[in-house]
Amino acid sequence: MIRGGRIVDPGGSHPADVLIQDGVITSVTATVGSVPAGTVVLDASGCLVTPGLVDLHTHLREPGREEAETVETGSRAAALGGYTAVVAMPNTEPAMDSAAVIRQVQHLGASALCDVHPAGAITVGREGRMLAPMAEMAALGVRIFTDDGSGVQDSRLMRRAMEYASALGVTLAQHCEDASLAGGGHMHEGEWSSRLGLAGQPAEAEELMVMRDLALARLTGAKMHFLHLSTARSLAMIRGAKHSGLAVTAEVAPHHFTLTDECVATYDSVYKVNPPLRTAGDIEAVKEALADGTADAIATDHAPHTAEAKEAPFDQAPPGMLGLETALGLALTELDLPAERVFALMSWQPAAIAGLSAGHGGPVEAGRPANLCVVDPDEMWTVDPSASASRSRNNPYAGRKLRGRVRHTVLHGEPVVIDGEAQR
């Protein structure tokens, strides 16, 4: 039972206690009188009780890079961050491009601290040459396909993938980066890359692929989701596409509304990420897109890397930063949005994009699976990378003070996080 909180879900906001039995919400009432003996009571006084968060963009690194993260450690970090479901990106080793690897990740996910939904690769080996067996993977429940880590460069192949996918009822998600224009750039191309002597990638490398995929979505009628958009013009194009009626959705990452390319001036590779940190103007555009509905979701792009990998010269270090445990705090602290909007962007809207609305994203009402998150919106805390449940430590927010912290997380009725502590 979750007692004393205020429910925030797609239907609105009201104070209520939540009774849970056998993984299912059995009642949501103003006050529950007596509770059966032996009931676990989670205190939610002063807290918001919301549908569990859903991350559209998590790198769990398993199989292949278990030294950086595993399904278990990544899911623990997710649970601590309030997530009850994550979409696991397919750039593992081997890539999630076959039924066998999908089954392996699903099997690992079955005992994880959150639901793990693997995304399938669009092309074999994420090499951008041949279509991966999408129907086989879709039959196992895969609902999102992407070559994330890189974009599908070949326009004809992308068109075919969209056409093929449209018969499967699945969504294609693109990491938008024109590889030849990006040219292997290590940061955003501009004033700072010029000063720092680092090869940059221009905003246009992202924008060109956004433009192309919007054209292809128009051509094929495919459902397209745009991953981690980071530039003002990318978001402006999505805004325009939505106005014209295209079935497209877009996500943005917390680091793209909190950090700029100026951070790279320290040459600390914790600030290397792809798409790269952009300018202050882009941060404003990302915030505006979140406020006006152009962006449908905040997704972490949680990308663990070992300290050894990150301690390389900036131009050799792998891109990526952790995100699962800080995303909600950053959103509540840095965005000028009501909490209801933040949870829409982090729970029910991403759940709908991932095809997970049956189990995640609310509403909080009797009969629904008990996947819930209890958040104290006023708790102040300081980010401490060494305390992370992730196996990696590439957290760019060390020492940052955030407002709003996850108190409890409930996964199919099991309290996997109580008072900010993972229970297994």
């Binding site: 000063r195 002597g197 900036f314 131009d315």
Partner: protein, 341 residues
């Protein structure tokens, strides 16, 4: 007092108040960027360099200033001339000198950069002279170490501060400028591959800090993508710029630039941006011709022009040793030895 100081450092101390100078540089443990020094710091290094030029002319060009100190040159990228210049400078100051050289690729096979430099620190060194093909590596190294000074001997496309210092020294002394005048009002053009040049980035910072008017002359493909915040002007017409200059600074052109679609051909580059004999004749008679080396004769500069009277390319090299002595002395030596004084 002067005698004690002379004994401690072996330097002719009368011209410079070393104690006062050292006090101003006490906060400088590393030399990573020219920006660390500022105009005053650059001027101090140049004044100190005069003393070391004098030392270099002695029959035995050696002073005991860094006796007992250990300097290691840590070169992850080959550069024989810069490494030799630093090691010669350290030896002339009586430091013990160690050499570490490895290509970046050999590190990829095993030991990490961090482990490598921490291992070197564990041997007990006072200064690391670091060269790396990756921009920013000296900053990372300085962050990982606790104690030794880090001197940037060139990082990627980013900076090469001692090159800029030796360039400033060469210009001010060859033009006979008063130390306090800096480069005020002097017109300097840097010609060539600015985009990929650590020399250009440090030179722009140093020349403009000393008051020079700097023009970058290059095809747009060889300029940085953004020049926001750079106090320079840009030209694509070398012929028009040359007659106005006190100094033309020619950068080396790497031949692989054609592969990246930055240039059509070497021939076209030489025709449009090379300092040919015809172009060199457009310079004022007393204008200086400079180049950081190694020179691609016939590409960015004609062989005859590199050797003509206005060319100070060889002086740059010999001043390099004295400048690096001054830098090593300021970072590693001045505090300790002046305590004796």
């Amino acid at each position: 007092m002067t005698d004690v100081r002379e004994t401690a450092t072996g330097l002719p101390g009368a011209a410079i108040d070393l104690a006062e100078m050292a006090g101003r540089h006490r906060g400088h443990r590393h030399l990573l960027s020219i920006a660390d020094l500022g105009a005053e710091g650059i001027t101090d290094v140049l004044r100190l360099t005069d003393s070391f030029v004098e030392v270099s002319r002695r029959a035995i060009p050696k002073v005991p200033a860094l006796r007992g100190k250990t300097v290691v040159s840590v070169f992850f990228e080959d550069s024989t001339r810069t490494r030799l210049s630093f090691e010669t400078a350290a030896r002339r100051l009586s430091a013990d000198v160690m050499t570490f050289s490895a290509s970046s690729s050999s590190l990829n096979k095993g030991e990490s950069l961090k482990d490598t430099v921490q291992t070197i620190q564990a041997m007990g060194v006072d200064g690391l002279v670091v060269r790396h093909s990756g921009s920013g590596v000296p900053w990372q190294v300085a962050g990982w170490l606790d104690g030794p000074s880090v001197i940037n001997a060139g990082d990627g496309w980013h900076e090469h501060p001692t090159q800029a210092l030796l360039d400033c020294y060469t210009i001010t002394r060859k033009l006979g400028l008063a130390p306090e005048a800096g480069l005020s009002g002097r017109r300097i053009a840097i010609v060539g591959d600015i985009r990929h040049s650590r020399v250009a980035r440090s030179d722009v910072l140093a020349f403009t800090a000393l008051g020079a008017e700097v023009t970058l002359v290059a095809p747009p493909t060889l300029l940085p993508p953004s020049l926001a915040g750079w106090p320079v002007s840009v030209s694509h017409d070398l012929d028009r710029v040359l007659p106005t200059l006190d100094v033309v600074y020619v950068l080396r052109l790497q031949r692989e630039r054609m592969l990246e679609a930055l240039l059509p051909s070497i021939r076209e580059y030489t025709a449009t941006y090379g300092l040919t004999r015809r172009r060199a004749a457009l310079l004022e008679e007393d204008a200086l011709i400079m180049h950081p080396g190694p020179v691609n004769r016939g590409v960015e500069i004609a062989a005859e022009v590199a050797d003509q009277p206005g060319s100070v390319i060889t002086a740059q090299v010999s001043n390099g040793v004295a400048v690096r002595m001054a830098v090593l002395f300021l970072l590693l030596g001045s505090g300790v030895d002046l305590a004796v004084a």
